[in-house]
Amino acid sequence: MIQKAKNETTDPSEWQPRIVAFLCNWCSYAGADLAGMSRLAYPAAIKIVRVPCSGRVDPMFVIKSFEQGADLVLVSGCHPGDCHYTSGNYHARRKLLAFRELMTFFGIDPRRFKISWVSAAEGAKWSNLVKEITDEVKALGPFETYSEILTGETGP
């Protein structure tokens, strides 16, 4: 059953953005872990979903995340050439970039779907990245297009 996000109040000042981040276990997830270990603070708005490799992310997960109320989806993997499974990130790169073009074509805001490479040692990069994304999504505000679909109001 699909529920609307249970935020008590919906006015933007109280509004907390919800970001879904698919992090590859060997690089980005380890980078995030390092950031934690290095006591680097970053906004909690981000919900991390650990996947074995960025190649595991089926672009339909992005649609699924939006349907679940995500305001922004991030997929982060190893730098090309560093993939623990050799070529996972290369396949991800092709599928995800093509999918983002498809979203754009449908009119879904591409800025709400980010892709990044974060290595296991880039704890600092990870925390900066999350800060940037959170600021951007705050600027973008809640993901109206999808929330309308969910609440039944249909477009024209």
Binding site: D58, D82, H84, G88, H91
Partner: protein, 599 residues
Amino acid sequence: MITLTIDGQQVEVEPGKTILDAAKSLGKVIPTLCYHPAVPAAGACRICVVEVVAGDRPGLVPACAYPAKEGMDIQTQSDRVMQSRRMTLQLLLARSPGAEVIQDMARDHGITENPFPERAKQTGDKSEKCIMCGLCVRLCQQIIGASAICFDGRGPDRKVSTPYNNQSDVCLGCGACAFVCPTGAIDPADYSPSPIEKIPNEFNCGLDSRTPIHIPFPQAVPNKPLIDRDNCIRFKTGGCGACETICPAGAINYDMEDEFVEEEVGAIIAATGYEIMDPSIYEEYGYGRYPDVVTSLEFERMVSASGPTNGELTRPSNGEPPKTIVFLQCIGSRREVNGKPYCSNICCMYTAKHAILYKHKVHDGQAFVFFMDVRAAGKNYDQFVRRVVKEQIATYVRGRVSKVFARGDKLIVRGADTLSGTQVEIAADMVVLAAALVPSSGIRELSQKLRVGFDEHGFLLEAHPKLRPVDTNTAGVFLAGCCHSPKDIPESVAQAGAAASKALGLVCHTRLSREPTIGIVDESSCNGCFECEGVCAYGAISAKELKDKKGNTLATVANINQGLCQGCGACAATCRSKSIEVQGYRDDQLFAAINAINR
């Protein structure tokens, strides 16, 4: 076999061997000058004459060239022999006053004065050391095959030179003649137009030179020589081949090629060590500009007994022992800008050791150490450093050095002493830079081959800094030593032990334990398009035919080999009909994780 007696001792040798060979097998020392095992004997210098008392024509014969005969009776120390040797030495002293070897031999034979006047030097006679033994000419003609040098003239005026005394155009510049010359009289540069490039000895940081065939370093395992193809005359021009003729084990085979050996292994331990950063990028310290500014590794080699100067510490500029020496710490380490941000861990300890070694070498010398803060965290480390300070072995100055520049033959080290808050200038004879440790070159290619991560400095990434420091993200690849991060010997040894035991743990079981997160195919919905096989990096997917009871094929579907599958999930993402799931990361589990944003 031939039996003969030498100085009353019986000895047996194969036919064709000389009296010298027989004497050698008895451990008897017969002096030789014009003899070299790799060069055919000529019996020219006559220093090795021995007396045949019986068994052949009596008289003095050259041991190096005279074949041993059955029943010979030889005396190597008879009066007649000793008299002849002394006379030969006296004549050679007159002939070549500059040859130290002859002076030493003469002293050993009790010669104090020489009745013969020194021979008048001929015009153009380059060397006073040449005793005309002919070794160099024979070697060049019969072993090297270049025939670059020859004898010129006859009788006392005979000398070694090139035809018509001009530069030789066949000299290979191999320097073999200089190598065999008993008195060091010949310098190939006199004859060869092309300068003899000295081959820098890598292990001694290029401070001295080495021969093309050499043992890389004294403790090499296996402790066997190797041939450096680029500099070996045999490979450059087909000449020489001296090592092949002289090797008693016949172990030299020029046709062997490098070969790639493929080995199926269960585990790999990366232990590629470290290199010293090149401090010449810091202009202010003057490394590369002043010869007396050396790196700590070069200093280590200088004080080592097997080093370029056999352990004698001398200033590279003038060969004098350095009376004042200054050790500069953290050169390139702990520098945010234009350097390595990390601490290289071992410099403080080896600098303390170097200070002590310096004191052994130069008792009256004075040592200074410019440091930021001494990192001596290991067992008994701090006591060691405190001893160096307390026993005034070295004066520790807390502060950085801003500049090193030359004044006269001294090096002025200008730095700050933060404890007294003053600027300090020391006139030093030698400056040692404790340069930063960096991973050995080629680490990047290695890490991509092993599929192991590395940080921005190139150090390999451990699986987990606290929980799995010797593992890597790739199953079966482990780390040890400085390739992981700068560390000293105790830590490296500990890490090596850990890595070895982990590797053993991996390979000593009959069955392999694997992560359960591997792919599973839903054969009912698989269309058999095999696009999953295209993306699988491990070739884990193959075709499987579903047959009915009668054996005809109903459908061909994908099948995942559980041994090969690493669980990356690329196939699951590619499958349009969602017929593949990765255990532990199934679509429903991920959907549940996505839903968590609503909780």
